[in-house]
């Protein structure tokens, strides 16, 4: 489809269709390698940002926490003054700080305190990791791997600061403003040097800058510091262009210390530090941070849950009888959040009203279905971008990314985001990150809006049309088609086949508690299709007369596992046992490179109350008050994983492929998706 992508292949001259293999052509360059690594002309941008694309694994993952909003959130609970809190909250985790909060101290002291506190914080958290969490194997490994860089960094700083009065020597000891200015300067210089070293090519320039500013330091004004930051940023950007090829291990090693420099919330002037960092060296750190895939949030990890809770907007109460096997997933009481959030609607919140609305719709279940949710989210983002103004002294790229990140985290609190939404967010973020620096604000906004528009139309709507076109060829006269739940793609296929005048019958299989099949059934009946409706309990009975099973999917993982509405695996298994072909219809934007073997490690839990009572039968109330029964746990799973063995074919916008070919599509087109 895309000529630029195809170009390298057509360049292979004589026999493009045949690859010479084996001992016949020992001299010939094996064409096979063409498919493997991306060709060199394209690779730099790919290697540049694709790791960052990985950073967001879509399901059950806390939204990517960018340093800026992260810091604000961390700092918020520790702030004593309500004025500060308000200013931070109003800023949405990254707005003009100075406007709301005139600095109480002179610039010099501000600078000194911020730098020293950062240093202390860096050391503090480093030791904290080592000491407190050192017993955890995972963390330990990470720290160890990051040591070469971070270790050097810190020891160097320590040497200096140790001589000057031990500003940051003790683990977790908050730095005080007592630290002398000279020490700060020294440490600053080292910091700069260190940064310059990382910067690589433009090291000299950066060093010049740093030494220049060093002399001036005590009297730096805001403007000067701004200039310094700008130059650093420029140097870094230049260095990044050539430093791209740095190996993955190097980047990951870099990323860890960056994280370690996070200020601990205990530090009194953390807010100052945060604001300073936001403007100053947070962008490069953020960039590096993005290179490391975010570990998925495990909800049985107490400390992280605590942290996440503190910055959460939606007040969640933990469910009482949590299912033991699924403790790593969020299990909250249902029903309490909606009124709470609704009451907050008119409060001044950092979340855009459209996003807020979509979040509420997710929460109440008004929007469900992977495509509908994804489109709703993207359109809300479109609105939000339209109304977005770059705050003074911010750059659009960074601030907007943070903003989108906070929206995503809000939506995630309303309902865990799906894999398809994760892919869409990944796409949007990569588009934002790729915006050229020179482009004006309005142009950037227009281009982002049109990008979103294009994603919706190409990857979702057009893709659905192509899927329908392919799948309809598999429906013959006299077929009995079975479908489960309500999939938009399957619905379109059935309706289109009916329009083409094919004679077939549809069996709609449904399941409690959502009974989404009834919606599908109604729409099919309106168009005059022959339908049959049954619950999943009868699927083994009905299967023997079925000739094709059409299923939708929430996602297809790269081992061919189909991740879909709970019950799908059961239907597919029964169909396989009856030797009925199972056709899964899924747009390629829902493909994900993750591998999942079971439905446990990543899933979503619904409201357990729904399964405890039976609709329309008040008499069946044996489970009333189940929450008080200690030894009862109700499990309402939303998704399940269908092994690829039970799937005969996956229909995507790239044609009909066997489940074994999903990784090829992910590999060949996953990037294109991000890079459209």
């Amino acid at each position: 489809m895309d000529p630029s992508r195809r170009a390298p292949r057509s360049a292979i001259d004589p026999v493009p269709k045949f690859r010479q293999v084996g001992f016949f052509t020992p001299g010939a360059p094996p064409e096979r390698s063409q498919s493997g690594p991306p060709d060199p002309t394209h690779s730099p941008p790919v290697s540049d940002v694709s790791p960052s694309a990985n950073s967001l694994s879509p399901v059950m993952i806390p939204p990517p926490r960018h340093l800026s909003d992260n810091l604000a959130i961390h700092a918020r609970p520790t702030l004593a003054s309500p004025l500060r809190a308000e200013s931070l909250a109003a800023g949405g985790g990254g707005s003009s700080f100075g406007d709301f909060f005139p600095a109480p101290m002179s610039p010099a002291t501000q600078a000194s305190s911020s730098y020293s506190s950062r240093m202390a914080a860096g050391e503090g958290s480093f030791f904290d990791r080592h000491g407190v969490r050192g017993d955890k194997g995972n963390n330990n490994g990470k720290v160890a791997s990051s040591f070469p860089r971070g270790g050097f960094d810190l020891t160097a700083m320590k040497k200096v600061s140790g001589g000057g009065g031990g500003g940051g020597s003790g683990a977790g000891v908050p730095a005080s403003e007592l630290t002398t200015v000279s020490v700060v300067n020294d440490s600053l210089a080292i910091h700069e040097k260190e940064k310059a070293n990382r910067g690589g090519g433009s090291a000299v320039e950066a060093k010049d800058q740093s030494t220049g500013s060093k002399q001036q330091k005590p009297k730096t004004t805001k403007a000067e510091r701004r200039a310094l930051q700008e130059s650093q940023r420029a140097a870094k950007a230049a260095a990044k262009a050539e430093g791209n090829k740095a190996s993955g291990t190097a980047t990951s090693a870099n990323a860890k210390p960056a994280k370690a420099v996070k200020p601990t919330p205990k530090v009194d002037n953390a807010a100052v530090a945060a604001s300073e960092k936001k403007g100053g060296d947070c962008p490069p750190e953020k960039d590096r941070k993005k290179d490391v895939p975010q570990p998925r949030m495990q909800y049985d990890d107490k400390s992280r849950v605590e942290k996440a809770k503190r910055r959460a907007m939606v007040k969640q109460t933990e469910a009482r009888n949590r299912v033991e096997l699924f403790r790593h997933l969020p299990q909250y009481e249902h029903g309490s959040q909606l009124p709470d959030l609704e009451s907050k609607f008119f409060h001044l919140d950092p979340v855009h009203p459209t996003v807020y609305k979509v979040g509420l719709q997710y929460l109440s279940g008004d929007i469900c279905g992977a495509n509908a949710r994804c489109i709703a989210m993207l359109q809300a983002f479109q609105e939000a971008i339209k109304d977005y103004r770059v705050p003074p002294e911010k750059t659009l790229v960074r601030d907007l990314t943070a903003k989108i990140g906070s929206y995503v985290s809000f939506l995630n609190e309303c309902r865990p985001i799906s894999i398809s939404m994760g892919n869409a967010i990944r796409f949007l973020k990569s588009r934002i990150a790729k915006l050229p620096l020179t482009v004006s604000e309005s142009e950037a906004k227009v281009s982002l809006q049109s990008d979103i528009e294009r994603f919706i139309s190409e990857k979702i709507i057009l893709a659905n049309k192509v899927i329908v076109k392919h799948a309809v060829t598999k429906i013959r006269d006299g077929d009995v088609l079975l479908t489960y739940g309500s999939s938009s793609a399957v619905e379109m296929i059935l309706l289109h086949a009916h329009e083409l005048g094919k004679q077939f019958r549809v069996v709609v299989v449904d399941s409690r508690p959502k009974l989404r099949g009834q919606i599908l059934l109604r729409r099919l009946l309106e168009k005059g299709l022959n339908c049959e409706y049954t619950h999943i309990n009868a699927v083994s009975y009905i299967m023997h007369e079925v000739t094709r099973v059409f299923l939708g999917a929430s996602s297809v993982l790269s081992n061919g596992t189909v991740y879909s509405r709970v019950g799908t695996a059961c239907v597919a298994m029964v169909a396989h046992e009856f030797r009925v072909p199972v056709i899964v219809c899924c747009e390629a934007y829902k493909f994900h490179e993750r591998v999942q073997l079971d439905s446990i490690c990543s899933n979503e839990l619904g409201d357990p109350d729904i399964i405890s009572n039976v609709r329309g039968r008040e008499g069946v109330n044996y489970l009333d008050g189940w929450a008080n029964v200690e030894n009862l746990q109700l499990l309402n799973l939303i998704y399940d994983a269908t092994p690829s063995d039970y799937v005969s074919m996956i229909v995507t916008d790239y044609g009909m492929v066997p489940p074994t070919s999903v990784p090829v599509i992910v590999r060949e087109y996953g990037r294109e998706q991000v890079w459209i």
Binding site: K17, F24, S35, S648, P658, S661
Partner: protein, 393 residues
Amino acid sequence: MWWRSASFILDRQQNDEALRQDTSSTITPPPPTESSMAMGLATDHNPNNISAYYQTRAAHHAVVTSDWLAQAQAATTPHDPPQSTSAADPDKPFSVIDEFNNWRRLPDLAEAVAAIRALAAVIRSSQASTMMQLEIELKKASDSLKAWDTTSISLTAGCDLFMRYVTRTSALEYEDFNSAKSRLIERAEKFGEISHKARKIIAMLSQEFIFDGCTILVHGFSRVVFEVLKLAAQNKKLFRVFCTEGRPDRTGLRLSNELAKLDVPVKIVIDSAVAYTMDEVDMVFVGADGVVESGGIINMMGTYQIALVANSMNKPVYVAAESYKFARLYPLDQKDLAPALRPIDFGVPIPSKVEVERSARDYTPPQYLTLLFTDLGVLTPSVVSDELIQLYL
């Protein structure tokens, strides 16, 4: 006995065409002249009950030998030999289907290659002056070829492959249109060699799988499989071959003849005795008409049941197929592809009320195949789809 007479096929074609001469229309833009009508093959579609694909197979693989065919051809039609292209004949309008039919009469030429050669002839005779025009012309020609015989997989695959090549080789790479054109023609000429070379590669690759003292079950006559066995015999491997009879074309008989000439011990097994002999067999070797996207194959009728029997007895099933047989098809079951019909002679008259299953081929799903030997290497069935995605998307 219809298969005894090669002229049967040609006669039949001519008769069929004569019958619907008035309804036929040529695919070529100029109005049909007398000579092209007399040729009788220039119809948009092939309305025979017998698929053209099957006729080619019958002509090439059945007991009918190529010299009989040549004789019959000489006797029945004053055809110009395939080598002289119709471009040399200015008063006759060019028809890609004629061209294709000329080419596919060559017994050693695969159908896909014939299609590619025919398309090359289109380029040669084309009056187009830009790449775009040429592409459109080619598209038309390949569509008419495909429509002429919808049952043949390798014909479709060959057309698709060539179109792919033309569209991928954009004119931008060449300084002018004429050099691009000659480049394409040259390329098409090469395809013949490629198909020959592919068989050699496959034969080499599969040698490691044939060990001394093994027993190989072969179904039907496949040029690739024959090449494999020939090379193994030349390499002084000690093995014996069971040939299925291959009713009703008796293709197995031809293969056993050829193998006997090479001094390979051969035993003929009737088609229904496959399960009976399977315990003696060490591996099953089959060719393929087409390799589909799931990694399964479409092959002569009976392959599926042999694969099922072999699978249930845990015997490996190897498929030898050139990569130009890879087709973008995804049959879900046996009835999911256009059947290629053929005549079946039972020796006794069949009452008209009795239906006869006349399909000439079946689909073997990938789970029953062990490995595919192709010129791309030895592949598992699941790799086929990966290759196809990279080829066509």
